[in-house]
């Protein structure tokens, strides 16, 4: 005959065991274990988080002029949010999130100090690959703000729309004249500078000073190419500036 205290003890342990089983059935979240050892409902919760970054195309209606300049220039790869972010002030992102699509006054926070902002990508520092345009900040800017010469939405052009040359001074070019001349180039390089044939390179969105330099070198024979040599010899210096400026403003995509 098992002593009373042992019987009582086993009874208590049995009650604990039952409570344990009950807990195992009752306590886990209802969606637990459906797909694996985790609450299935959390996948939906995570997928339904708010999307903060709008696509830049969604700003085309609100800022048509800036959008036009931006989307046809070399900074098309720089999304609006990169510069137009007030860092650290996360409540401001509500305006950027575009939650209400009917919001017509989707205000982009103004870009910070250009000299501090642009250098984040364009300062010449160790680690930056050579293909990236980089500058020694002090000697290039000479204390001026970047926007004094560069249009931030299309930095190969100045704010008044003239292309920037390598010498730093703005040259007056005639884009319309350049467009007229481009009819000749279109035969090989495509009407918008994007060629269809593999052997003819794209010239759209090439840097204007580069195109000027290339055409000049074809003209002088420094670059030897029978086709381009003949083409370039038929161009004047201002023709070269104009047609180069036209293609430089073309989109690469």
């Amino acid at each position: 005959m098992v002593p009373k205290h042992i019987r009582r003890l086993l009874l208590i342990l049995g009650v604990f065991a039952l409570l344990f089983v009950a807990g195992k059935i009752y306590f886990p979240p209802k969606s637990f274990g459906v797909y694996g050892h985790y609450p299935a409902a959390s996948v939906k919760d995570i997928a339904e988080a708010r999307i903060t970054y709008r696509s830049p195309d969604s700003f085309s209606a609100d800022y048509p002029k800036e959008y036009e300049t931006w989307s046809s220039g070399i900074h098309k790869v720089v999304k609006c949010q990169i510069c137009h972010t007030t860092v650290g002030m996360r409540p401001n992102m509500a305006s950027l999130a575009g939650v209400a699509s009917a919001s017509t006054s989707a205000t982009l926070p103004t870009a910070g100090d250009p000299l501090k902002l642009c250098v984040k990508c364009h300062e010449k520092i160790a680690g930056r690959p050579d293909y990236m345009p980089q500058i020694e900040v002090d000697s290039h800017s000479k204390g001026q703000s970047c926007t004094a010469c560069h249009n931030p939405h299309s930095p190969l052009f100045s704010s008044s729309g003239e292309p920037i040359t390598a010498s730093g001074g703005a040259v007056t070019v005639d884009i319309a004249a350049g467009k007229k001349l481009s009819a000749t180039c279109a035969g090989c390089h495509g009407p918008e500078g994007v060629s269809a044939a593999a052997m003819f390179p794209n010239i759209a969105c090439q840097k204007q000073p580069y195109l000027v330099g290339a055409l000049t070198e074809y003209q002088s024979g420094k670059r030897g190419n029978p086709i381009m040599g003949g083409v370039a010899k038929g161009l004047s210096a201002s023709d070269i500036q104009n047609v180069a400026a036209y293609f430089a403003g073309m989109s690469c995509k």
Partner: protein
Amino acid sequence: MGAFMPIADFIVSPYSGYVYPNETVVPWGVLIVIYPYITGLVAGAFIVSSLYHTFRMESFKPVARLALLSALAFLSFAPAALLSHLGHPERSVEAIWTAHWTSAFAAFAYVAGFYAILLVLEIWFAFRVDIVAMSQTSKGALGRLYRILTLGSTDVSEHALAYDRKWTQVLAAVGIAAAFGLHGYVGFVFGSLKSREWWSSDLMPIIFILSAVVSGVAVLVLVYVVSSKVRKTAIDENCMAGLARVLWGFLLVTIVVETLEYVEMFYRRLEGIAMIKQLIAGPISTGIAIQALFSLLPFAIVTMLLARKVRGNALIGWMSVSSVLLMSAVLAMRWNVVIGGQELSKTAKGVLTYIPGLWGREGVVWAITLLCGSFVFLWILARLLPPWERVRMSE
């Protein structure tokens, strides 16, 4: 007033070399240092108690029940350290209801729970005769407590006591395995992680168990000595000599295995060895020194005590000194492993220096409070269930 009291929860550690950006906040702080320390005390105390209850080594009878109470006192406070550390302690029961068995932590909830029940049962059986006696003599709320604890049975016949003895023996035997599991899992948590070179080692569970037993025996020695002095009772010399032997044995193996770990690490000279050298020479230099010296010195002392068959006050005095040193050494070892491992960057290119804060959850003050709290709780338990030979025990 406020500026110089750093809240311990978000300490940014300075570093040399290169560390991953997310590593500058050390995730496991002093609470995770003292948690394995306190569970280690449990394991050691319980092993001594089992030497009497399972293996019938008579020399440990004077401390057997004190050891059980110590084990329970420490086991009650170890979860407190863990729960204080968790981001959401109120969700900790999830580890029981939806335990993820691939995780070493998940086993903890079950092993610790099982072990706690086992310990409570063991204590109940060991003290049942006293509980029955006190239920009949005590008055008031205390009397009611004892009567509840008797589970309504005052049967202390030979028949009932035979059951008690059997249960005690089995529980103590199972308890040894459970104690090894309880503390071995802590070592396994560290040893099984491939992300940290300082932790990743097959020897880690063994080192943790062995050093745990050393610290547990040491704390038992101190508790025995202090309680005897306070109660002005004599200390059983055979018991103390027995404890010295146990201490010596486990300490020897601990020193050998810990040394082996370091020797292998330096012999292998894997990629991160330069940073490991920097770690040992830098942030944990004091800790390593304490761990080494305060392990070897007591080892020498206890060897002399045993070789020269020292008895009397000399034995007690030197054992007390050794125990204090060993408890410090084991605490230093926990620091070296837990904090040292996180100070060695996962990049193998940098070393951080973690300085714990004073206040806050992960602060030194709270850690010390928990540690002291366990001793206070032990004192309460000893008042409630006096482990000293008072009522005739038929074991």
